[in-house]
Subunit: 252 residues, 2 copies
């Protein structure tokens, strides 16, 4: 029995998110179906980031156990001939038998992308959130700095979430504009339910001048979801990748 | 009666190209239908670049005559509420009554984009051509230099094309790589049928080492379509924009 780790890129537009659900097509259901077909075993993957409907990925991680004799590095190629073109395996490798994609310490990176111009561009409609009001990127950057480090992010967590602790560490966060696209890039040891989208929605409030950058500090202190801005739409969000920290080393 | 010029962006994936065709949805048919609905007149647009099925645009141009009293600059907003989300008007303005989008001297810019990596990325599948073989971008750049200037581009023109002259001027051409995307950007006074896609297909032959850069010169001299490389697929091509040269000035 081997434990295999897949790096999975997808365009989330057509899917009801990552996680299995009755009567809905999800990334997990598609992976389970095609892995089972390829490997002639009943396969159930465990995902690292259970992304919402409409969220995209360049490097989400799925892990499963198999007895197959297909060489591990060939699984990515074989799967890509079976998968629909909006899901592509980027890598397949063997991992330790006790490796768990959510319980192993990691650094996850997400990007939230905003198209900021007078009119939308058809090409970006599925992977950027269109905002026509002029955004003050400098102020958004200043606001983002307050989120860096270890904080209780309860104000930035959907009220429906059931978690033991709402303390997380943001290792890096930046807001950059290139052409008409404003990108919020954030790396942390983990993210609460809807946390990146609520951060994006709150930084957007700063960008349009409805919040001052220093108000982020007050929002964190309040530990109340109602203090933060709205949840920005799912389709602007992309899970970029996950680095696993094992034996002091970073492993992608 | 006023003559109006629209700047039109579209994702060409769903359309059978620009030009009207029986029993097929085209950019022209969608524009005519929605302009006629908005302005309550029978409208027929004239396009600048009659792009093929699957080709995209950031700034193609459509011109039409109307008696409407709707302010010209409002037409873009009004049309965008009616159009499907894969076609977006970027600008509407009034032009001289004799302005013709194809007969007026202009500089047109196209980009051909290639995703060059081990596996495709779902996000780019409709607007880049995926090539897994490693491309020598330096050699492609050298090859592109031979195309700069005035030449008879007969070798780079689809044999089905009916044109009086196959001489065109390429004002600028460059090949650049950013992350995994190789972009061929080309500006000229006009392009023959399939010319940019045949240039892209030929530069790709250079990129994979099947042609040497200096062979481009021989290909031009032969004035024979069979001398050049294959026509690269439509979905990698985007019409970027058109500058019109009037009274010595450049007008977008």
């Amino acid at each position: 029995m081997k434990r295999i780790k897949l790096t999975v890129a997808y365009d989330g537009t057509r899917y009801s998110g990552w996680q299995l659900q009755p009567n809905a097509e999800t990334i997990e259901s598609v992976l389970n179906r095609h892995l089972s077909g390829l490997l002639k075993e009943e396969i159930t993957v465990t995902g690292a980031s259970r992304t919402d409907a409409g969220v995209h990925s360049l490097g989400n991680v799925a892990v499963f156990d198999t007895n197959t004799r297909i060489p591990v590095e060939k699984i990515s190629y074989a799967m890509n001939t079976r998968l629909p073109e909006d899901i592509v395996i980027q890598d397949s490798c063997e991992v330790e038998p006790d490796f768990h994609p959510r319980r192993t310490d990691s650094r996850k990176t997400y990007e939230y992308r905003i198209l900021n111009r007078k009119f939308p561009l058809p090409d970006c409609r599925h992977n950027t959130y269109f905002v026509h009001r002029n955004l003050d990127v400098e102020k958004m950057s200043q606001a983002a700095e307050y989120l860096r480090g270890e904080h209780d992010f309860k104000s930035f967590c959907s009220v429906h979430a059931q978690v033991q602790s709402t303390v997380r560490t943001v290792y890096g966060i930046c807001v950059e504009k290139e052409n008409d696209i404003v990108t919020i890039r954030i790396t942390g040891n983990g993210f609460l339910y809807n946390m990146v989208r609520i951060i994006a929605g709150t930084l957007l409030q700063v960008g349009i001048g409805c919040l001052r950058p220093e108000e982020i500090e007050t929002i964190l202190e309040k530990k109340d979801r109602r203090a933060a801005g709205p949840t920005a739409p799912a389709h602007g969000l992309t899970m970029i990748g996950i680095e696993y920290l094992q034996n002091g080393f970073c492993k992608f």
